[in-house]
Amino acid sequence: MSDPAINDINICIATENGSGSASANNILFKSIFKMGIPCSAKNLFPSNIQGLPTWYQVRASGRGYLGRKDVIDVMVIFNETTAHEDVDKVRPGGLVIYDDSKPLPRELIRDSLKYLGVPAWNLVKDNVKVTQLRAKQRNIVYVGAIAQLFGIPLDILKDVLADTFGDKPAVIDSNYLCIQLGYDHMESSGATQELGRLVAVPEGNKDTIMTEGNTAAALGAIFGGVTVVAWYPITPSSSLVEEIIARIGKFRTDNNDKHRFAIVQAEDELASVSMVIGAGFCGARAMTSTSGPGLSLMQEGIGLAYFTEVPSVFFIVQRGGPSTGLPTRTQQADITLMHQGSHGDTRHLVLIPHDNPSVFELSWKAFDYAERFQCPVFVMMDLDLGMNMGISAPLAYPDQPFDRGKVLSREQLEAQGGTFKRYLDIDGDGIPQRTIPGTDHPAAAYFARGSGHDVDASYTEDNQVYKALLDRLRKKYETARDFVPRPLIANGAGNGDGVISFGSSYTPTCEALDRLREEARPLDHLLLRALPVNGEVQQFLADHERIFLVEQNRDGQMAQILRDDFPRYAARIHPVLIYDGLPVTAGEIVNLIKGGN
């Protein structure tokens, strides 16, 4: 498996968005997947609809490394605008594939690279009859060329086409034609390359699913029983709700065409958070989904949800900040704003998935946590996790029934003697009981407010009652420490240095640690899965002299939280910060850990 010449290749396709390249890229990716080879795709697209540079990196890795690869082995330069920089990105000894319908400009030629032309434009011009389709179909030609060069069988490509365009045989045919054109051209030209080959792995990728994090989150929300979704479109979170819209109807439409869900496109994020709060207060499982700018706009609402203790779920798909920043790049730089969002003293629960199964799991669980702890719960995602194709084990069916928390029904109210104090810490865990509007019991009603209130929910300005309320809210957060998902300790607690990673950094960190181990530098690894963190994290800090904390932000936002949580170990924490907006690579982590040596 570790023969470098086999199943270890990173292909980058440089094109324009809106040019039909997405479909070609997808076919290439799926074909490698179908060969049974572990693979991942990273789509670097512009914040624009049509005509700007786009890069798509497909990595095949027999060893199962699915982060973005540090080096590009093969570059398809189908975009003249960026061709210059594109060839510069290819590693020495790498391969450049270009459209030789026109001669390759001299200045693109590097001694260290190999060039193979495929006259894609001429081929489609001669073979594709519908003129409007030609620009689009040109992209598919390179798929054929690559297939021939690296050994993707034509029948696999055919299968993938059938799978993708199942109901449109004409489209299948025309695409297959173009693939064949590229394939045949390479074959007849006798072109070769020495970078390696793709070899099908029998039973490889069996029981493996292929999806995007936003889809997994959408499914998680549906299986988590979400009924009210209020949202406002924003990249890269839009597709999360759009997937809910596309999928929920199937499970939740009654015979008489009634919907057991409601999805509202709000007028802005101030409205979406308020709608979620209104719905959560009334007992619905409610959520919104947004990215940085929307999260900023929701701050006041988040404080209200915190202080009135309304269950509410926030999917935050992070992108490059601050401000509008880079809407189509990835980052983990909204951690503080999630964890300590809104004015005043607040502390919020943050769930941090790292792959599609955990996205699904933590998404349905988010609704349970929100109701159990009666508070905003954040599912922290990012563009890399949310919008890039990832392969993984199948999504696992929820292993727990709905946890509605301490909601009192009419019967329960009756059973406890008809008394109810909304904000009384009845169990000593900081979590009070809750009733839902419409509950048909005279003691059910209470009057929630974002201003100071006592255990009866009545307004008060009493300093001691106020302090007691703040303390109880903090206690609730402390209770949560042992309830939120525990960290995953990938390697046992040795005595060397440790590494903590979370979210989309986890995958490349694993690869980085393998590499460091090969260099005789073994490191223990802890995957953080939630805030607040619990004793296991503390133990990990205690067990290691030096802990590298991998974060995708400039300021070490997670480090700030951990240092404050565990001041004794503050100096042990060495943030490894990668924040240029591209998905993290193992090489970056290796370098920074070595640099911090």
Partner: protein, 347 residues
């Protein structure tokens, strides 16, 4: 019930509740504040229309006006949220449970300044709600700055005249497609109470712009929202009755003098014409509002109504049982469903 009521006992309504059952906490507003008069009308309206307090949801933002919801219907759930977002919050409650009777109380600042965008969009959606704006032209709670509904030229107790034209929230709501629009005055309970009763029974957004003098910051000479000024510049469209029970409605009425509108939920509103206006006539409503604007008068009464437009819950195709009360069986797809999804994500 056929047994004779015991003497001295307060009269009960259709739900066997007495008026006291509709009261709330002791008001902490200034003595004489218009908002308290509105509270009284709400209490009377809910009592008379036999509204079930357990189905009522009281919603507000922030302001003196927002406190109002605490002063009626103690037995009802309430949510006093943040400044300007009540409309959006109400939209969420309406999705979770469209069978509740939401009563929103807001201020002119809360609705027309900070909350304008969310308010307008709530109206567009025709969310079922009784939305009362206690309009005093100022920010009471922050001590008397002008709101967007202060009239041009109106003066602050200390300080200058307002240079901007008042926002007419009724015209705006009409433009946004509101289906129940009324203007009234806190001091005119005879007019206000039946309007609120009707609003409770309207299936859609009912906007009531209620002039409500702020006796502390905006009741002086030079203010166009003073008690005196409002009284002098009111212009009523009609006298109003609300009849909760259809059976009591006598069948023949004088079309020339009266207009009757049957409310969606229950009851009927009868308008005894003063001006000639059928509130189902949108064009004429626009014209009257424009005239009132020109004359600087406050046109009061039921200005517009449309009982046929589907409300938000209907558009959203909500089921009979509120979403909030659906359980795991109704909501979580099966294991087989997930298997199928997983299969579809394989190749």
């Amino acid at each position: 019930m056929s047994e004779p009521a015991v003497q001295m006992q307060a009269p009960a309504n259709g739900l066997h509740l007495i008026k006291k059952d509709y009261e709330g906490a002791q008001s902490t507003l200034c003595k004489g504040c218009g908002h308290d008069a509105i509270t009284a009308s709400i209490v009377t309206a809910a009592y008379e229309a036999s509204v079930d307090p357990k189905r009522v949801l009281k919603l507000s933002g922030i302001g003196c006006s927002a406190k109002t919801t605490n002063y009626f219907m103690n037995q009802s759930f309430g949510f006093n949220g943040i400044h300007g977002r009540m409309a959006a919050m109400a939209t969420g409650t309406g999705l979770a449970n469209h069978t509740l009777i939401p009563i929103g109380v807001s201020g002119d600042g809360d609705t027309a300044s900070i909350g304008l965008g969310n308010f307008a969009h709530m109206v567009r959606r025709n969310l079922r709600i009784t939305y009362i704006i206690e309009n005093n032209g100022v920010y009471g709670l922050t001590k008397g700055q002008f709101s967007a509904m202060a009239d041009r030229g109106s003066r602050l107790r200390k300080g200058g005249a307002n240079p901007w034209e008042a926002m007419d929230i009724i015209s705006l709501s009409l433009l946004m497609g509101a289906t129940f629009l009324a203007r009234s005055f806190s001091g005119d309970r005879k007019q206000l109470t039946p309007l609120i009763e009707a609003a409770f029974n309207h299936k859609g957004t009912a906007v009531l712009d209620v002039l409500s003098p702020c006796v502390t910051f905006n009741d002086h000479e030079g203010s166009t929202k003073s008690l005196k000024h409002i009284r002098a510049n009111r212009d009523a469209l009609h006298d109003i009755d609300f009849i909760p029970d259809f059976d009591q409605v006598d069948v023949d009425y004088d079309e020339g003098k009266e207009i009757r509108v049957r409310m969606h939920e229950a009851g009927m509103i009868t308008l005894h014409k003063i001006k000639d206006h059928d509130p189902r006539d949108r064009g004429r409503a626009i014209q009257l509002l424009e005239e009132a604007r020109g004359n600087n008068t406050f046109l009061t009464g039921l200005i517009y109504i449309d009982e046929n437009m589907p409300d938000f819950a209907e558009v959203e195709q909500l089921p009979e049982i509120p979403l909030a009360f659906l359980g795991e069986e109704e909501l979580r797809p099966s294991r087989q469903d997930l298997d199928q999804i997983n299969a579809s994500l394989m190749l």
